[in-house]
């Protein structure tokens, strides 16, 4: 498959603020990419640079092999779904969708025909005569989508298009978008700050932080093996345990309670952070008075038990760090604040990030 979008060393500064710091990214034909990160991480800036709404200070952006770095937005072979849809308030829905084809020189009749097809594709077949302000947020979102795909672009950019919708509708639209993308075969670059949304839809997730790409990978891979401490903390919940490598052995010492664990992961750095996901911890209450046994486990005191619908989060104080364990369903009766517990886990579940502080 050929690269539909390639970004090489793109930089952008706003005054003293670095919005994009040497960003490299390649998107394949028909791929669904999510740009994920907290607000201010540069994901929207990157999208605007691709669309041509702002000029990068350095670097190169190519679409389907053609360098578009110097092309104005209206000459780039891509389309965008804007965050607040940016529908034209003075045009009805059909004319909104027909706007692109009209500007590309189609007759009014041909453009309307294409627009009707696109509207049918997004599930709004008979709404052409309405005006944007007469429609619900979800419907406007579909119109914006129809307007963007009617030109049959090679690449579709989506700037948090679902953020204004309520949760239920958003979930439904996520799946619909995913199916639409699969049937159209257009590459999607989707900006979001919602990791669940990214996990649901994207083939690959690009995690951004402070203008840099922290990690690119499939959802489960990013969750299982975060490349940096930022990714570990941003994606899902993570317990970060400082460790030191045991010299000459395939083992690490956790700074907490000095526990030693075997370690299969090859590591150069002598120390770093071990990532332990809350669901990988097994809790068992230690009877008061009994001496803690088993070196390959941690011991701590429960501080909080939080029931969240389908699962329970248990906060456990271990030395001066609070770890979170996640139990499916309700917690056993003796898992209450104040009790001492043993935290056991399979050392293979530890993911080590070398060199992290």
């Amino acid at each position: 498959m050929a690269a539909i979008l390639s970004i090489d060393g793109v930089c952008k500064r706003f005054g003293a603020h670095t919005a994009l710091d040497r960003v490299d990214l390649t998107v394949e034909q028909g791929e669904f990419i999510a740009l994920l990160g907290p607000s201010g991480c540069g994901k929207t800036t990157l999208l605007r640079a691709i669309a041509g709404f702002l000029a990068p200070d350095a670097g190169r952006i190519a679409i389907a092999g053609q360098d578009v770095s110097r092309l104005p937005a209206h000459r780039r072979p891509l389309n965008t779904v804007f965050q607040n849809y940016a529908l034209f308030p003075h045009l009805n829905v059909l004319d909104n969708v027909a706007y692109g084809p009209r500007r590309h020189g189609l007759s009014k009749r041909q453009a309307h025909e294409k627009a009707r097809d696109a509207l049918a594709m997004v599930g709004l077949p008979d709404m052409g005569a309405r005006y944007p302000r007469e429609m619900s947020g979800g419907q406007q979102q579909r119109v914006a989508l129809a307007r963007a795909i009617v030109n049959e672009p090679k690449l579709l950019l989506l700037d948090e298009p679902l953020s204004a919708l309520d949760l239920k509708l958003r979930r439904r639209m996520q799946l619909e978008l995913k199916h639409l993308q699969e049937s159209l075969g257009i590459a999607f670059v989707f900006v979001t700050h919602d990791q669940e949304e990214a996990m649901t839809m994207a083939d690959r997730i690009v995690v951004m932080h402070a203008g840099r790409i922290e990690q690119i990978g499939q959802g489960p891979e990013i969750y299982r093996a975060p490349a940096t401490q930022f990714v570990a903390e941003f994606i899902g919940e993570a317990n970060l345990l400082p460790y030191r490598r045991v010299p000459g052995e395939a083992a690490i010492t956790l700074m907490l309670q000095g526990a030693v664990f075997p370690c299969a992961q090859a590591l150069d750095a002598p120390s770093g952070m071990a990532v332990l996901r809350p669901e990988d911890i097994a809790l068992s209450v230690v009877t008061p008075g009994a001496t803690p046994t088993g070196e390959t486990a941690l011991h701590g005191v429960i501080t909080d038990v939080i029931r969240i619908g389908s699962h329970t989060l248990v906060h456990v104080r271990v030395d001066d760090q609070t770890l979170t364990a996640r139990l499916a369903g309700a917690a056993p009766e003796d898992v209450v604040a104040g009790n001492t517990v043993r935290l056991a886990f399979d050392p293979a579940q530890l993911h080590l990030i070398g060199g992290a502080q």
Partner: protein, 278 residues
Amino acid sequence: MARRYTPLWLLGVPLLFFAAFFLAPLSVVAVASLTQAAGGLTFANYAHILADRYHWDVIAVTFRIGLATTAICILLGYPLAWYLVRIVQWPWWRRVCVIVLVVPLFTSNIVRSFGWMVMLGRNGMVNDALMGVGVIDRPMRFLGTELGILIGMVYVLLPFVVLAVGNALARVDPACEQASSDLGASPAATFLHVTFPLTLPGVVAGAIMVFTLAVSAYVTPALLSGGRISVLSMLIFQQYSSVFDFHYGGALSIVLLVFTLIMVAAAGRIGVPAGSAR
């Protein structure tokens, strides 16, 4: 008790104000226009106006100047508003521009029109400048021509268009223009198909203000016409101030009002964007 009368108060006070300051004077004029000095209902005043070619000429001059003023104000005011809203980067420079634009409105219309009389005279600055550049070799006559009146009117009324259009331009969602260029529209096409239609209500609002003020203006045309050109407001002034025929003057006023309302209603239809709730 008090609560029961609250709606009455809320409705009554503005209604009273409206009646006292707008309806009553207008009714006085309307009644006067339909009566004779001797009393009794008559349409003679209107018949007199509409049957006389001279009046039609004056009406034509009045509305020609009004329309030309409106057109020129929009042609000059739109780019000026664009400059202020879209091109000026420093807020302080924009503030200076707006002050320069608005300050003349604080000076008396008479003073400003006299200023133009001096500027547009045979040996005025305008003629000097035009001759200096070599565009003309004999002084042009501005005073007493429609061109002279037009220059004075555009100067007085231009700020209204700049402010109305500027306001509309500032409200255009930049995302709409980006969406337009994203969909393949060149900057010119974006202006034609998105920006201009979205600012059209502002343009129409400015145009209506300028047009109504221009056709009813008295001071500027009176001073700059040099007695050679008459507009309706000057005829009306004559009737009220020297002839003392309030009936005939009233009829002239109503004619001006009706013609103006017809034009404004027509313009208002253009200004309503399709699909708006209005």
